[in-house]
Subunit: 177 residues, 2 copies
Amino acid sequence: MFKPHFTALAVTAIDGKIARYPGHLSDWASPEDKDALHAELDRSDVVVVGRATYELVKDRLDSRDCLVFTRSVKGLVRQGEHCLYCNADQVNLADVLVQYGYKRVAILGGTQVYSWFLKHNLIDELYLTIEPLVFGAGLPLFATEVADQHYDLVAVKPLNHRGTLLIHYRKSSYANT
Amino acid sequence: MFKPHFTALAVTAIDGKIARYPGHLSDWASPEDKDALHAELDRSDVVVVGRATYELVKDRLDSRDCLVFTRSVKGLVRQGEHCLYCNADQVNLADVLVQYGYKRVAILGGTQVYSWFLKHNLIDELYLTIEPLVFGAGLPLFATEVADQHYDLVAVKPLNHRGTLLIHYRKSSYANT
């Protein structure tokens, strides 16, 4: 059976913000976070990313296959060799993944895309990098109300001597409805 | 010299929310977090808390001295044996702390109170407990824009087998302006 596996990857400030404002580059993230991110992307078949985030990061995604969530297209539209634009509310994502053989899916944000997967209860794993700084205000990781979703802590790992933490969670197998 | 020391204590969901809505009791926090919290409060001379949060937690603060931030009073008003109501924008907090001999200050939130101390660049230490669940939406830890404030990671400690983490940060001595 073809069962896709969804891994969300995010880097936040101590106060849970993924950016100060839309378009804010994650140049405040440590090199060690980028290394961990790309190691996970190497294990993935496709990267799912929102249109705005895609514009920010596409140069660093090299030749990785991307599924770009956007409301600007109807259904699914190919955009170049490695990129599909996808209106997530107009396609059956499971069918798209089967069609292209994308089994291991990396979710790179932003807030709207993380929230879409949370709302559909699809996040199997979460790698959360916390950089040791505070923004005070900015964009949250999620912005959609859901019933409590419980996760198991798999590991927590200091990534460097500056205090960056990588926390690995896996969806709890028993506590979620 | 009388130099107060400010420690903020907060428990959040994985996604950085301190509560789902104003008035949401932190009954989702683990017993081990409450133990860690009260151990820190035992080391503190006074608890600073917003009026709404105070109403939620006062029964559990026992006979601890409290400074309750509220705009409902002018300046500083005593309210019972252990409690002072304080309009933080109308008093000199440093003077109040000297007057009452409060040297070690524990900041218990909510968002507005955490933000007040952040904005005034007063948070020396932060104990952040992350419970392994996601709310999706809710109240942020901070809601005030500041220039990047850097912290040093002092320790990260699993509090139980359910995946609760206690992360201890200290204001970075060199990187903040």
